[in-house]
Assembly symmetry: C2
Homo-oligomer: 102 residues x 2
DNA sequence: GGTCATGTTCTATATCTGTAGAACATAGCA
DNA sequence: TGCTATGTTCTACAGATATAGAACATGACC
């Protein structure tokens, strides 16, 4: 009955250490890097070999840390970086991190 | 007999996610911020209310992540940020983080 | 309705993390 | 040789984390 709920925190409620933690896992860092092209990606596209449940877990952590936004669209969900918002909250941070996530 | 050993990794061996992890804990982020004045601080100065063993643990994680350097000097140890080296490895990263660690 | 595709939630588990007391090590000094 | 100061290592433990299978939910399509 209820729409799928991908609530994400207001950007001003995000703490720096949360963002750093979300990006401190190699898998999640790779996800963020894949999203750095500015496009929306589906969870399935990002997953690759990773099991769906594991992927869902990582996306939840990224979302709750304010790093990504998830938007339901039909069967799939569209994940994107909250780049502009994060840059307003922590200017230069995301760019500095993504620049070095080879 | 053996000198106290505070081995720290070569800067080129440091991975981005390790640095982010080291700084993803509020206590360690506060330590890094305290070191941001460029001075050497003793572990005791940085500790404040924190028990010595806890402090030693956090300093070890920061050191092994390449974020700090520890130098024994007499009874105490001098801890400092590896700012220049980190900036060479990950240009702009540390500055962007420290800028927002209020 | 039935079926398939895409994800989420539930559950379990092995490992990691933060915390901190206790014991030990090192350095300076009387 | 004590004695004190400064940290590290040992040990324990509660809670968090990464992983992933299984069940469930949702949406599209026949």
């Amino acid at each position: 009955m209820s729409e799928r709920d991908f609530t994400q925190p207001a950007i001003d409620a995000v703490a720096l250490h949360q963002v750093l933690f979300a990006l401190s896992d190699p898998t999640r860092l790779a996800i963020a890097r894949a999203l750095a092209d500015g496009e929306e990606h589906s969870a399935g596209d990002l997953a690759g070999e990773i099991p769906k449940s594991t992927m869902s877990h990582h996306l939840k952590i990224l979302r709750e840390a304010g790093v990504t936004a998830t938007r339901p669209e039909g069967m799939r969900c569209r994940v994107s970086l909250r780049r502009a918002e994060l840059n307003r909250r922590f200017p230069g941070l995301l760019a500095a991190i993504l620049k070095h996530a080879e």
